[in-house]
Amino acid sequence: MSTVLSRRAISLRRPAAPGVILAALVLAVLALAVVAPGLFTPIDPLAASASGSLQPPSSAHLFGTDQSGRDVFARVVYGARYSLAVGVGASAIALLAGLIIGVLSGLAHPAVDSVVNRAVTIAMSFPEFLLALVVIAIVGPGQLSLVVALSIAAAPAYARVARSQTFVVKRAGYVTSARSLGVSAPLIVLRHIVPNTLGPLAVMATIGVGTAIVSAAGLSFLGLGPAAPAPEWGVILSEGRNLLDRAPWITLFPGLVITVTVVSISVVGRYLQSRSTR
């Protein structure tokens, strides 16, 4: 849902520096968790123990344990890999697909452009989450299909921005002067149109990663993502949902981690956006 924000005007005040630094720090910690989860906890996320089931948060188990006695903190740490892979993967694919479709239809013959634009508008009229659901209905649940579904769902938004940006750049002064200098058409596209279209899309993608993570958690909460016992954040949330009154910590902490992650990504994304268009 928050991809729409990136197309808004930047907030007049650049975000306070400390906020941005804190957000960057959070993302650094997350990246570390993806690369070397072992650093954070020695416990194996899949190690179950009947005796340790449903323990409240303690020094031994920071986030407590779940019904199978597994350490929730370890599962959240090892889960970072799943969620960030989906978030970054889906946004990158959506950006690439959107850029290609958007730029090509922006430069193509108006008839082609109107057809492509019509298709993009139809896809855009569909909410991203429902589009992802339908794609999963086709490719079946699983980690890979999450990435495929979310990139297909997000691509139309990127395509629309790329197309409108291409129209703007096509008419910009520096393209006219490049033409009058005698720069060839394909070279103009590569050297001026694509780089200047990529800028806003890249910023949009950073915020898109946050949306993809939230949507991925939603989809796996519904059982459409990676199958249990994978420590994906959405799966952990759904494991805890029927134990809310007895063990709320199973649901509380993964949700907090998702929120903090997405907030950090949005803060960094907006900071990049304000710096790039200053």
């Binding site: 849902m1 928050s2 729409v4 924000l5 808004r8 005007a9 907030s11 007049l12 005040r13 306070a16 109107s114 634009n117 019509r118 298709a119 508008t121 139809i122 009229s125 569909f126 909410p127 991203e128 989450f129 429902l130 659901l133 339908v134 999963i136 209905a137 086709i138 079946g140 409108s164 946050g210 939230v214 958690a217 939603g218 909460f221 519904l222 059982g223 459409l224 949330l237 805890g240 949902r241 809310l244 009154d245 709320p248 649901t251 509380l252 993964p254 949700g255 998702i258 929120t259 997405v262 907030v263 949005s266 803060v267």
Partner: protein, 320 residues
């Protein structure tokens, strides 16, 4: 520059025909892509119908395939589907063995009341926020709150609200779709991210508008802060928000799927999800077609509202 009324009438007629054509193409496009994509799904629909451990012989399964016309060539199935679609018949659900149209429309009121209340709460919250919040510290606090609201997963927020308000405080029933009290928590959960987005867009719209030269002129006439907003900048910010509302209505249905699952409410979202999990293709296709129709109409309304709000659009009604 001004157009004669008769000239303007003809242009309006063309615009309406073009718009309706757009809706029809959108629905046809969604139906076609949906149909062939769903037919590409592996797995035998009869297995889907019978479920697990049905001690049924192959001959009976062949009989069922006959009845549902699954043995005819793909194109014939597609054309008969289109023919029925035109008459508003969305086929029969594999699982529920009921016409898809009646299955979906039966669930409409529950989702509509949830979405309606959610939009109402979101609009009221964001409008009061935009009017009231003025001091810099309040603005940064508001923008931080909006960011958190938008970033937190709706279903997790729902679970947390249940934990606090149903289990601990017991103010609201845990869930179900019975009386009004059961609607409060789900509607608030759905409304929170909406409030985040709308107030963010509204505030950024107000900030952008207040930087415009005509605001300087208005202030030079002696208008105060509230008059400036109500008479000038809110209308500009509203123009932006209207285009956003079209997008938000769409995201409401997406959100409904999650909220209805978390709160155990009946509704279109639950039916769509169950159909997807059970691979009940006719219902999934019905949801796609109904969705395409609804969203195409909503976008049409939003475009009309936008041109109504911004007179500069009226003359140049051409394509984007």
């Amino acid at each position: 520059m001004t157009l004669t009324p008769q000239h303007r009438g003809r242009r309006a007629a063309i615009a309406v025909v073009r718009a309706l054509g757009g809706v029809i193409i959108a629905v046809w496009g969604a139906a076609t892509v949906g149909f062939f994509a769903l037919k590409a799904i592996p797995g035998d629909p009869v297995d889907v119908m019978l479920g697990v451990h049905a001690q049924v012989s192959e001959s009976v399964k062949d009989q069922i395939r006959e009845d549902w016309g699954l043995t005819e060539p793909l194109v014939v199935q597609y054309l008969s589907y289109l023919a029925r679609l035109v008459r508003g018949d969305l086929g029969t659900s594999y699982q529920l063995r009921e016409p898809v149209a009646s299955v979906l429309t039966a669930q409409l009121p529950a989702t509509l009341s949830l979405a309606g209340l959610a939009i109402l709460i979101a609009l009221v919250l964001s409008l009061t926020g935009a009017l009231v919040i003025r001091r810099p510290w309040a603005r940064s606090l508001a923008s931080a709150a909006e960011l958190v609201l938008v970033s937190s997963p709706t279903f997790w927020v729902g679970l947390m609200l249940i934990t606090v308000f149903s289990f601990n405080l017991g103010w609201f029933p845990v869930a179900g779709s019975g009386d009004f009290r059961a609607l409060v928590l789900p509607a608030v959960t759905l409304a929170l991210p909406l409030t985040g987005i709308i107030s963010q867009v509204l505030r950024q719209g107000l900030d952008a508008a207040s930087g415009q030269p005509f605001v300087l002129t208005a202030r030079a006439r002696g208008l105060d802060h509230t008059q400036l907003i109500t008479r000038h900048t809110l209308r500009h910010a509203a123009a932006d928000s209207v285009t956003l509302t079209g997008y938000l209505v769409g995201s409401l249905v997406g959100g409904a799927v999650l909220i209805e699952t978390v709160f155990g409410r009946a509704g279109i979202g639950r039916v769509a999800l169950r159909a997807i999990i059970d691979r009940d293709l006719p219902v999934v296709l019905g949801v796609i077609v109904l969705g395409a129709l609804t969203f195409a109409v909503i976008n049409l309304l939003v475009d009309l509202a936008y041109t109504r709000l911004d007179p500069r659009q009226r003359l140049i009604e051409g394509t984007a």
